[in-house]
């Protein structure tokens, strides 16, 4: 019995699990990614796009799955697990590279002077005890002077001379100084890295502003005030003009906007008294002429005072 025809028809029904292309597909099993480097077949693309894409996707998926089945497989309770190889495609970092720490003041100085950093051990050799002891911290050598059971006192020392207290104060002062420097370094790093204004700078600006307004608040606007020694000249606000070569369009628009604004302003301001159309007499000029340039109010006052004077005389 010849079953080859049946087998062939059966095989035709199911597509082969091997994908054959002109350029082999690039499978990156670690990322479960398949890349197809083959050029697009224009005929099938134009003919039926959906089918073309489906066949591409099918080939890619088939290649990926068959590559997965070639990987070493571990049996587990959840079923067989394939061990993925190391990834091939290099992916960029998700996050930025960490920024280098801003240099401290000492580091800047050392770099400028070319001073090499010498690593100092935490332990120090103690000649008396013949062993390595901590430089600081538990049983630190820096506290040796204040913890020893007997201490030398200088010859003509005060009665209240306490060598332990002096040593301790010195050590505390060193610690405080170091802390202060550390704070300074942190503040400097912050001010240089972020544009956020520092409270100290803010206060400085505030004082400057107050001072400048105080200086021009005298009767002579500060012109004839006594100058203090080392007083700086006051800086005015620098004038700022538009750039010469702005786009012609924007300049035109600005001018037109200004024109329309002026137009609407003048319309708002217009308060023409509705005289009865008799424009032969210019009232403003007539009043000016009669009152000899003093105006209507002065003329009215004058008339009133004359009347009073006359009536007083009559009495």
């Amino acid at each position: 019995m010849d079953v080859s025809s049946i087998l062939a028809s059966h095989a035709e029904k199911y597509k082969s699990i091997t994908v054959e292309k002109a350029n082999p597909l690039e499978v990156d099993a670690a990322y479960l990614t398949v890349t197809d480097p083959n050029p697009i077949d224009v005929d099938s693309y134009d003919n039926d796009l959906e089918e073309h894409l489906q066949s591409l996707a099918r080939d890619g998926t088939q290649a990926l799955i068959s590559s997965l089945f070639q990987l070493p497989i571990n049996r587990s309770d959840d079923g067989p697990l394939a061990q993925l190889p190391a990834p091939i495609a290099p992916l960029p970092r998700a996050k930025h590279l960490p920024k280098p720490k801003p240099p401290t003041k000492w580091e800047q100085f050392a770099a400028a002077k070319g001073i090499q950093h010498k690593k100092r051990d935490k332990k120090e050799w103690d000649e008396e005890r013949q062993e390595w002891v901590n430089r600081w911290g538990r049983d630190g050598k820096n506290r040796q002077l204040e913890e020893q059971w007997i201490t030398e006192v200088p010859l003509h020392a005060d009665i209240d001379h306490d060598p332990r207290k002096i040593a301790r104060d010195e050590r505390k002062a060193r610690v405080a100084k170091n802390q202060k420097q550390q704070q300074g370094n942190i503040a400097r790093a912050q001010s240089s890295s972020s544009a956020q204004p520092q409270p100290r700078e803010e206060r400085k600006k505030d004082i400057d502003r107050t001072l400048s307004s105080a200086r021009v608040s005298t009767a002579s606007m500060g012109r004839f005030d006594k100058k203090l020694e080392g007083e700086k000249k006051m800086r005015g606000v620098k004038r700022k003009f538009d750039s010469n070569e702005q786009g012609g369009d924007s300049e035109r628009k600005n001018s037109l906007a200004l024109l329309s604004k002026m137009d609407s302003d003048s319309r708002k301001m217009r308060t023409r008294p509705s005289s009865g159309g008799d424009e032969t007499v210019n009232v403003r000029k007539a009043v000016k002429f009669v009152s000899k340039g003093k105006g209507a109010v002065a003329m009215g006052k004058e008339a009133a005072s004359k009347k009073k004077f006359k009536s007083g005389k009559r009495k």
Binding site: F241, D242, S243, N244, E245, Q246, G248, D249, E251, R252, S255, L256, L258, L259, M262, E279, T280, N282
Partner: protein, 180 residues
């Protein structure tokens, strides 16, 4: 050389609007080429943008003029129109005054226009309105400000001043040194 500030533009436009009224828009919004106002040594120049761009490459002390000088800002911030602006004022003027041939010379020597020399005047010209002065054959001679409205001028005697002189083309000769 720099563009005008808003205050300066306002002063300039108010002055120009006194002569050309709404036609001022045509000076700013030109169909042929973008034009702009530029301030250089207190003088305002009306210049096409391409010339302005060329002029930027000239050093400030060496730049004498560009485009058309419209006038200058005084030290107190007022704007004075120069006779060089006459071309544009005459083109867009709203109110016009024509003077008789016998009045041309007096006007060109810097005198005011009296009623005897008045040939024609635009109807409904109000008082203190900027007007452009033409000769009877429509040659612009200068500009000024009306002293009286059109209706009032009819009742005046012939020696009364109708238009206060502001600028005339005679200045091209008289003020040759300071005009430009």
């Amino acid at each position: 050389m720099r563009p005008l500030t808003e205050d300066e533009s306002k002063t300039l436009f108010t002055k120009l609007a006194n002569y050309v009224g709404k036609n001022l828009v045509h000076l700013i919004d030109r169909p042929d080429e973008p034009y702009c106002f530029r301030l250089h040594k207190d003088r305002v120049f009306y210049v096409s943008e391409s010339s302005m761009r060329l002029a930027t490459s000239v050093a400030r002390p060496n730049l004498v003029s560009m485009g058309i000088c419209f006038g200058k800002f005084s030290k107190s911030g007022k704007f004075k129109l120069h006779i060089t602006a006459l071309d544009y004022l005459a083109q867009y003027a709203k109110f016009k005054v024509w003077i008789k041939p016998n009045g041309e010379m007096p006007f060109l020597y810097g005198n005011h226009v009296v009623k005897a020399h008045l040939g024609r005047i635009t109807e409904d010209t109000p008082e203190h309105q900027g007007v452009v002065v033409y000769s009877m054959n429509d040659t612009p001679l200068g500009f000024g400000v009306t002293a009286r409205s059109t209706t009032e001028t009819r009742k005046l005697d012939p020696t009364a001043i109708i238009v206060f002189h502001q600028a005339d083309v005679g200045e091209y000769l008289r003020d040759e040194d300071t005009l430009f």
